[in-house]
């Protein structure tokens, strides 16, 4: 909101410099009215969508901020609600939605590492490279080895963790 009004003020100053203060004032008032109308329309649409989904609405808004700014999930408090309109139970629901969202994103990354076209290509090319280890440039092997080991560690770590989680779910 502040950024938009700053932008409008900048525009008003430019118009005032070109066409005078009266024209700038008229333009600014119209622009404010238009902005009000737009914000009301957005609020109406969101109300229609989230009227009976309080936790979903807050979670959606927080995910939007985390996705587009330097804020991180760790910045959200666990023990109390930072929003006056939400009690602790409702805040718990918000956190649960956010956690589920994070789990789904993690699963999407696992899909990318295993089932995507790129992952299939990686397996094909590793098979190819394994047939001809003698053709790699000797001077670059020290560069490739740590990268291969890192990939191996990461892949095994993810596989172990998925397995452990599946075991835990079976046991629960």
């Amino acid at each position: 909101m502040r950024r938009a009004s700053t932008y409008l003020e900048q525009q008003r100053e430019q118009i005032a410099a070109k066409e005078g203060n009266a024209a700038a004032k008229e333009w600014y008032e119209n622009a404010l009215k238009q902005r009000e109308r737009y914000l009301r329309a957005v609020a109406d649409r969101e109300f229609g969508k989230y009227a009976d989904k309080k936790a979903e609405y807050v979670a959606e808004k927080l995910l939007e901020v985390i996705g587009t700014s330097t804020a991180r999930y760790e910045d959200l408090p666990r023990d109390h609600s930072p929003i006056a309109g939400l009690n602790r139970f409702e805040w718990g629901q918000v956190l649960a939605i956010i956690e589920r969202h994070r789990d789904e994103i993690a699963a999407r990354y696992v899909e990318r590492f295993t089932m995507s076209r790129g992952a299939k290509d990686l397996r094909i090319y590793l098979t190819y490279l394994l047939r001809f280890p003698q053709y790699a440039e000797i001077g670059k092997l020290e560069f490739y080895i740590p990268r291969l080991r890192l990939a191996q560690r990461n892949l095994e770590g993810i596989a172990d963790a998925i397995e452990a989680e599946q075991e835990r779910r079976k046991g629960a």
């Binding site: 992952a119 990686l122 000797i138 191996q152 990461n154 892949l155 770590g157 998925i162 989680e165």
Partner: protein, 162 residues
């Protein structure tokens, strides 16, 4: 047009296509692709190409550069090089990335956390397939690293660096 008529027409059209193609070739010289395939020259050429060690060497180096980057050309493909670090590709080496580099939230987590999160969502059957594929790729990467280490040791034994 009944079926017999259609088949007859189809045969005539195919014959004409062949004649037309031949006429074009004789009018302009050269060899048609069909003739090359029929003679086996194309297949022989491919076999010759792929059995050439310099071709294999070029391909191996190109693939290594594409997937793992190049120490001499760090700017290529993506920082710090290679598709395994490309956020729009199989970015497995970005998992557990340091806070100095920008990595999206799920990748900033350790492999254990990422896997645990995914494990909560995946069904048992899906998880089984994913685990198999992750282990298979890990095994391949490990084997390649072993081979390269072995080769490096052999090279060092032959020409010790003083």
């Amino acid at each position: 047009m009944n079926r017999e008529e259609f088949d007859a027409l189809s045969r005539e059209v195919i014959d004409y296509q062949a004649r037309l193609s031949e006429w074009q070739r004789h009018g302009r010289g050269g060899t048609t692709l069909g003739e090359m395939i029929d003679s086996g020259a194309l297949a022989e050429g491919f076999v010759r190409l792929v059995s050439d060690p310099s071709y294999e060497q070029r391909e191996v180096r190109r693939k290594l550069k594409r997937w793992f980057g190049d120490p001499e050309q760090e700017w290529e493909y993506s920082r710090p090089g290679g598709m395994l670090y490309n956020i729009y590709d199989v970015c497995i080496n970005l998992v557990g990335g340091s806070s100095e580099d920008y990595v999206p939230d799920p990748l900033a987590a350790s492999p254990a956390e990422l896997g645990a999160r995914a494990g909560r969502v995946l069904t048992e059957r899906k998880a089984r397939t994913r685990i198999e594929r992750l282990r298979e790729t890990a095994r391949q990467a490990g084997k390649l690293a072993d081979d390269y280490e072995k080769r490096l040791d052999e090279e060092r034994a032959i020409r010790p660096i003083r």
